[in-house]
């Protein structure tokens, strides 16, 4: 791994990641503060099953269900995926399209080591966001009157971080493999959104319910970590997907022409 490249990538992405992190913490606090007032009332509404599934199929009346539906099902993963995808495409295909990569790679650094450094930078950004998320959740849950253990919150944040890293690695692989920033952004966003839809809808139709296993979202949310704690198998699947995609990125950039 190229350490200078790791430092440079973090430096270039720091402001963006930090502002996303502060936004996340603010939302987590707000959601916690709202729970005593509206959580119980919404819990009694009847919501169509499809919508319910997309929101995590949770019981809004409980604090775990509340956080799962308000943060876990859309906002949290959306935010971390967006940060990871944008950072990964910008630091690979973005730099290439901006013609900076051509100069960097005229220096004595191996392409694959450069990509590994970028992947580590994305992982670091995602971990920092997840730690921010954990702190925000602890405070938010306290505001809501308690009810989720710190361990379960950590389990959730771990699975969130891995989901972000795996999704970012999709962008890394496409960005490094093609050198096209908008393709990397678009295709990996599509992978994330389709995964989210599959996870929501496939279980409703038993014939295709197995499709959910193809969704990264399933491994993030399927075991409901806020309620039940960490699922080692899911953690392994997400981690393995991220590593595999990073390997694809590092190998696919090796033998191709860099864009002018």
């Amino acid at each position: 791994m190229s350490v200078p490249t790791l430092k440079m990538t973090l430096r270039l992405r720091l402001l963006f990641a930090a502002s996303a992190g502060f936004g996340l913490i603010a939302v987590l606090l707000g959601v916690g503060a709202l729970f005593p007032a509206v959580g119980h009332a919404i819990g009694k509404l009847s919501i169509p099953k499809g919508v319910d599934q997309l929101l995590g199929g949770a019981d809004y009346g409980t604090i775990t269900g509340w956080y799962r539906s308000e943060v876990g099902s859309i906002y949290g993963p959306l935010l971390i995926a967006a940060v990871a995808i944008i950072s990964a495409s910008a630091s690979t295909a973005g730099e290439e399209e901006d013609r900076i990569l051509g100069l960097v790679l005229a220096h004595p650094v191996e392409r694959s080591r450069l990509i590994v450094a970028k992947a580590v930078a994305i992982a670091a950004i995602v971990v920092v966001l997840a730690i921010g998320c954990w702190v925000g959740l602890i405070a938010g849950v306290a505001l809501a009157g308690g009810g989720i253990t710190v361990g379960h919150l950590a389990a959730y944040c771990l699975q969130l971080a891995l989901f972000g890293f795996a999704t970012g690695s999709v962008a890394l692989a496409i960005g490094a493999g093609t050198g096209r920033r908008s393709l990397a952004n678009g295709a990996s966003a599509a992978v994330a959104i389709i995964g989210w839809l599959i996870n929501g809808f496939a279980p409703l139709v038993s014939a295709i319910s197995w499709l959910k296993y193809l969704s990264l979202f399933y491994y993030y949310d399927g075991n409901d970590p806020l309620a039940h704690g960490v699922d080692i198998a899911n953690v392994i699947v997400l981690g393995a997907a991220a590593l595999l995609l990073t390997a694809v990125a590092a190998i696919s950039i090796k033998h191709r022409d860099l864009h002018a």
Binding site: L103, H107, P108, L258, A260
Partner: protein, 300 residues
């Protein structure tokens, strides 16, 4: 070992389809040479340089730099080569200093004093974000990063583009020092006048193919020279047309412009029969053969 060329390409090609790219380039550049690589837009100059640095892969042929294979030993080559890309781009939000720091770190550090002396020499502004810099000031950063690790070989794609005459002078002086130290410079340009003062030998590329490789001296020998001779009174241009070697002569008032190949002797002696007020050489003499090589319809 010293006779081994620093750059040697053999049949080096990059086929982009529809006749574009680089085709069968055979070129040798020796140690300590300042070698000019010329050609019109789209000739394949940048393509060649990108091939040498393994940024793109050849579709045929191969290149050796410093005795190493450009593809298989690229990492070792890049350690010893400095590169200035054409159309240079740097991280726009970072200052020149931050960019140079990063590029130096990629090389495992560079001699601080050398870097500082280059900064001083080019009077580069390191404290402003790159996006606020003018083209020339950005180009200075590009030159500093290419030279700051004392590479044995410099590959410079249009290094003079955007530099003011004073900076061009410092750059030319630097090239002189570098080649005196036995280091090699391979630089591209569109026009001869940009490289005339610094190159020993040059190659002209056209439509991806090498047209000519020769020393500047030899090219000069075959060049048409032109003199502008101002007389005391109008003189008939036909007097000069008949002289050996003269290719053209015409009068403008009391001034006659004579173009000739080879020695100037006959022309000067014929002129001496009249009152000569001034003799001025035309600067663009070499540029002429150049354009001849550039023109696509000319078999050259």
């Amino acid at each position: 070992m010293s006779t081994q060329p620093v750059i040697a390409t053999s049949g080096l090609s990059k086929d982009y389809g529809s006749g574009r790219g680089l085709f069968g380039l055979d070129l040798e550049v020796g140690r300590g040479e300042v070698f000019g690589f010329l050609g019109p837009n789209g000739a394949g100059k940048s393509t060649t340089m990108r091939l040498l640095l393994d940024l793109i892969k050849p579709s045929a042929g191969s290149a050796q730099l410093l005795g190493l294979d450009s593809v298989n030993d690229s990492l070792a080559i890049r350690r010893r080569v400095g590169f200035l890309p054409g159309d240079l781009a740097l991280y726009p939000k970072l200052t020149g200093r931050a960019v140079l720091d990063y590029l130096a770190e990629l090389r495992g550090g560079v001699d601080r004093r050398l870097r500082d002396s280059l900064v001083e020499r080019f009077d580069a502004d390191l404290d402003r974000p790159v996006r606020q810099l003018s083209t020339g000031n950005r180009q200075k950063l590009g030159l500093i990063q290419a030279f700051m690790h004392e590479p044995e070989l410099l590959i410079l794609d249009e290094p003079i583009a955007g530099l003011d005459p004073l900076v061009q002078q410092s750059f030319h002086a630097l090239l002189g020092e570098v080649s005196a130290e036995g280091r090699t410079v391979f630089l591209s340009s569109h026009t001869l006048s940009e490289v005339e003062r610094v190159t020993d030998r040059l190659a002209i590329l056209r439509q991806g193919r090498l047209v000519v490789v020769d020393s500047l001296e030899n090219l000069r020998k075959v060049a048409v020279q032109r003199l502008e001779i101002e007389f005391g009174e109008p003189v008939d241009a036909n007097e000069f047309r008949a002289l050996p070697g003269v290719t053209e002569a015409h009068a403008e008032g009391s001034t006659v412009i004579v173009g000739f190949e080879g020695p100037a002797d006959a022309v000067v002696k014929a002129a001496a029969a009249h009152e000569v007020r001034a003799i001025r050489p035309y600067e663009d003499d070499l540029e002429d053969i150049f354009l001849r090589y550039y023109r696509t319809d000319d078999p050259a």
